[in-house]
Symmetry: C2
Subunit: 210 residues, 2 copies
Amino acid sequence: MDIKAFDKMNYGLYIVSTKSGDQTAGCVVNTLTQATVQPARLLVTIHKDNQTERLIEESGVFAAVALAQSAQMELIGDFGFRCSRDLDKFANWAHTEDENAVPYLTEQTVARYSCRVVGKLDAGTHMVFLGEVQEAQVLEEEDAMTYAYYHLVKKGLTPPKASSYRPEPAVKGYRCKICGYVLESDTLPEDFICPICKRGSEAFEPVSAE
Amino acid sequence: MDIKAFDKMNYGLYIVSTKSGDQTAGCVVNTLTQATVQPARLLVTIHKDNQTERLIEESGVFAAVALAQSAQMELIGDFGFRCSRDLDKFANWAHTEDENAVPYLTEQTVARYSCRVVGKLDAGTHMVFLGEVQEAQVLEEEDAMTYAYYHLVKKGLTPPKASSYRPEPAVKGYRCKICGYVLESDTLPEDFICPICKRGSEAFEPVSAE
């Protein structure tokens, strides 16, 4: 089996979110598709280690947004490389709530969809949710980000599965704005490369112990 | 609900095929995604009226190819706008068989995947198949066709569902090379527009009754 064959498949790039009780979660996925037209139903596949997957199981609802081609890497860093258990991902980004009280991003996004889960399929490491669309709205006329554009033009990397996330330590050092990795050091070498997402020192910002 | 929001989703373009007994079938889909990496599993969603869906139910196996960006509209016409019950779709196009004896196209394609069905989800009008990948191969280094490229650059249309296909009548007239529609007439008006796929008279070729 030549796994490079899978690189020939094309995808968009989306953030799927949900809310259960007072907990919210969201993550980047490339696996949102429309399954049926009448009624409108969407499919989304999410790794079971993701907090978003667990909370969708609880709440039975999810929202999804299609990212704009101009979406910032820092946004994808927060939603794709960090864990909703350690971070209120929506805190730093403009958002509002749908009729299910699920938060979704209102900027850097071109369309949004709100769904109620009507079916699911256990795919092994991932769960596939079938959602009936309750709301759908164009947010911007701009082109949507494709996974190819994210990789080839934005030089983005594939987000790790949630189980390999590191909680952000309360330390003094330098934090990667892309993936959240913190280098515990008084200085940041100019040629330093992030061990998680492979960005250079220009992606880092100083952080202080709280 | 604003259905234009669904146009913001990005897809590739694929042909999914299968074989049950001595019957083969194949159709164009935009809904192939990778669900899991370990083991490699793919999801594909197919309208239940399609012969391909019925034969996958019987055989439990399918193949898929990612179309090349340069794939001909006539190929998409055969596989997207006609029915496998009326036409041996593979007869006119270079193909071979995978280890399950399922035919797949070897030209105008950039990658191919062969799967055994390990799960399915009834989505209403469509069936979702989860396939475990048995074979995967890069066929060409060229870019794959995206659904956006097919619509915007190639001016392609959305294939109808299978129940609206018309069997090709054995008549004298002019046949649309894109969708197979036959105008029963001795002459083809220069300004004629195909009622199925909306192409002009340049898409038509003369056919004779057998």
